[in-house]
């Protein structure tokens, strides 16, 4: 199986380049994922850099661009991929080395939506803060995000304004806490998002929905934030 992998080590290379790799057919196991192939290719060239941890689509470390579409290498089967399989770092994100990108700006945007419950009850209650089944159901499709960055790195609006536009991943989390019946800062959260950039750079391109490896829908979450704004303003 043929691969073409983006290589760049800023300490050595003046320019990024594409390196062809070949994995012999006998090394391809049934049900093999792209990450499995990468681990084998790393035995051929141990300078090849990529992140991985849990290897089963939970940690979100190995988001990359596979044949032009962002996804997790550990849950993308090699069977069915068009050859040569082109592997590139997540687009729009600063490259540290090879397939490893700097996620710092991404997490800065995530942090800006205050992704935690804001409550104002002193002293803290003795028992847990309860939700009805209906209230809890509102968080389905929002809480499952693993912050791999595939969606934001597929979003043209995030490519153009990564420092000002929060991006689909961060906005999905903003929506998750705006929808949460236990949170007491809904109004502040909505006001914080109401400017030209943070939320409203989203032009419903929906690349985020197409690439999300967990099957989530950030576009819908963003629409829900706008609906909440409408409710609060009018």
């Amino acid at each position: 199986m043929k691969f073409i992998i983006y290589r760049y080590n800023p300490e050595i290379d003046a320019q990024p380049f594409e390196q062809p790799f070949e994995l012999p057919d006998e090394e391809i196991e049934p049900g093999m994922m792209v990450l499995g192939a990468l681990l084998k290719l790393k035995q051929q060239d141990e300078t090849l850099g990529f992140r991985r941890s849990c290897q089963e689509g939970v940690c979100g470390s190995d988001g990359m661009n596979i044949n032009g579409s962002n996804g997790l290498a550990c849950v993308t089967p090699v069977a069915g991929l068009k050859q040569p399989v082109t592997l590139r770092p997540l687009p729009g994100m600063p490259v540290i080395r090879d397939l490893i990108v700097n996620m710092e700006p991404f997490f800065k945007q995530y942090k800006s939506v205050k992704p935690w419950l804001i409550v104002d009850d002193e002293p803290e209650p003795e028992s847990e803060r309860k939700q009805s089944i209906k209230e809890r159901e509102k968080l389905d499709g929002l809480y499952e995000c693993i912050l791999c960055g595939c969606c934001s790195a597929a979003c043209p609006s995030y490519w153009w304004n990564p420092d000002k536009f929060i991006g689909p991943a961060g906005l999905l989390q903003a929506s998750r806490f705006i929808q949460d019946s236990r949170d007491e800062a809904t109004r502040e959260r909505l006001e914080q998002l109401d400017d030209a950039y943070k939320l409203f750079r989203c032009h419903t391109i929906m690349n985020c929905v197409q690439v999300c490896p967990k099957g989530l829908n950030p576009t819908k979450a963003i629409a829900q934030i706008k609906k909440e704004m409408l409710k609060h303003k009018i």
Partner: protein, 106 residues
Amino acid sequence: MAGFSAWLLQRLSAVYMAVFIVIAIIWATTTDINFSVWRAGLQSTWVQLGVLLFGLSLLLHAWIGLRDVIIDYIHPLWMRLLALSLVALFLLANGFWLLAILWGFL
């Protein structure tokens, strides 16, 4: 005007224009239009108000949309200001042109 209010205004103006255009097409296809029909139509105050509101919607809608494109793609401040000024000038000129046309029917 930015963020939510701009977003809402863009949608409201779009709804008005959509309704206006449908009505205008129905009128134009079911009426035998000639100069006197056209002139008589535009002399009605209601039609004038409708057209004026359509013009206002179009200008606002275009301003918000084009400003979005400019904010997305044009980052250096002087280029952004220049682009925004050109758009504003063009839209304002169109607005005054529409006013002049409607004024002529008063």
